[in-house]
Amino acid sequence: MLLIPCPWCGERDEDEFTYGGEAHIARPASPDALTDAEWADYLFMRKNTKGLFQERWMHAHGCRRWFNMVRDTVTHEITAVYRMGGKPPERTDS
């Protein structure tokens, strides 16, 4: 079980959160101009990272806010939490 630090509520149990998948996927500015392959890439293709992964979470049972989190998919270590619209922190590992 993870102890997830909500940017507003502080550390809460993982049970209170829902997972929102990979973060920082920007909707294309003009979807009409895209090829089917590019549109499919936007809709469906996601990274399957082993290691530090930027992902979205929502504090569903608490303040109901979305936020971003950097989590190691191998160790589950949470290295950063930042608000929606925020920039991901620079990687400090080597």
Partner: protein, 210 residues
């Protein structure tokens, strides 16, 4: 002609006053707080016009810090989320509170909604109150982490709840700790069954419906 339906508790028929469970001195008391006016307020915490209007109507400063409350004059404001609060009044008509807040806010960018009918408030009081809630709630309910005046939304027996730490007995309150559990009306009976079932080992008293 609008027919005004009488307000009925979601626990009517289920809440039976008396002492139950393990023998000896009951470890806690369960009761329902009834006839509360509960109004949901949304607005920009950084806008002085908004905060001043709420202060003008309630006499309380909006709690800006997460998971805190402001209380006084029989009123409580609970922090729900950034720019979201619950104003709770005992002994005031919810319609009067709602329209009063709406009038005070005027054209300020804000939303006010009376949710009194949609919430049931169960008061869990007594030495074992935190132990009972801890059976199904991941919140840290220790007095150090959840002191008097704290509040937090979480799940209790998989049900969305808002827990308000009314009194942790720091100043020698007799019934302390007192924890109020706000739950959506439709889940109130289910939660009530969870609480009464879980309280059996501590022994508990149910106060009659006021």
């Amino acid at each position: 002609m609008v027919e005004v339906l009488p307000r009925r508790s979601a626990l009517e028929g289920a809440l039976e006053a008396g002492t139950f469970g393990a023998g000896g001195t009951p470890g806690l008391t369960l009761s329902e707080r009834r006839r509360l006016a509960i109004v949901h307020v949304a607005g920009d915490a950084g806008d002085p016009a908004f905060t001043d209007a709420v202060r003008g109507r309630t006499g309380l400063d909006l709690p800006i810090e997460a998971n805190t409350t402001a209380a006084g004059n029989g009123r409580t404001i609970l922090w729900l989320a950034p720019n979201r609060w619950l104003v709770v009044c005992d002994g005031e008509e919810s319609a009067a509170l709602e329209t009063g807040l709406r009038d005070a806010l005027g054209s300020t960018f804000a939303a006010v909604n009376d949710v009194s009918q949609g919430r049931t408030v169960i008061r869990v009081a007594g030495a074992r109150a935190p132990d009972l809630l801890a059976k199904g709630c991941p919140l840290d309910l220790h007095a150090r982490a959840f002191p008097t005046g704290a509040c937090g939304q979480s799940s209790l027996a998989k049900i969305n709840v808002l827990v308000h730490s009314v009194d942790r007995g720091a100043d020698g309150g007799t019934d302390a700790p007192i924890l109020d559990v706000y739950v959506a009306r439709g889940f109130a009976l289910s939660l009530w069954e969870f609480l009464t079932d879980g309280a059996g080992e501590f022994g508990y008293t149910i106060s009659p419906m006021p």
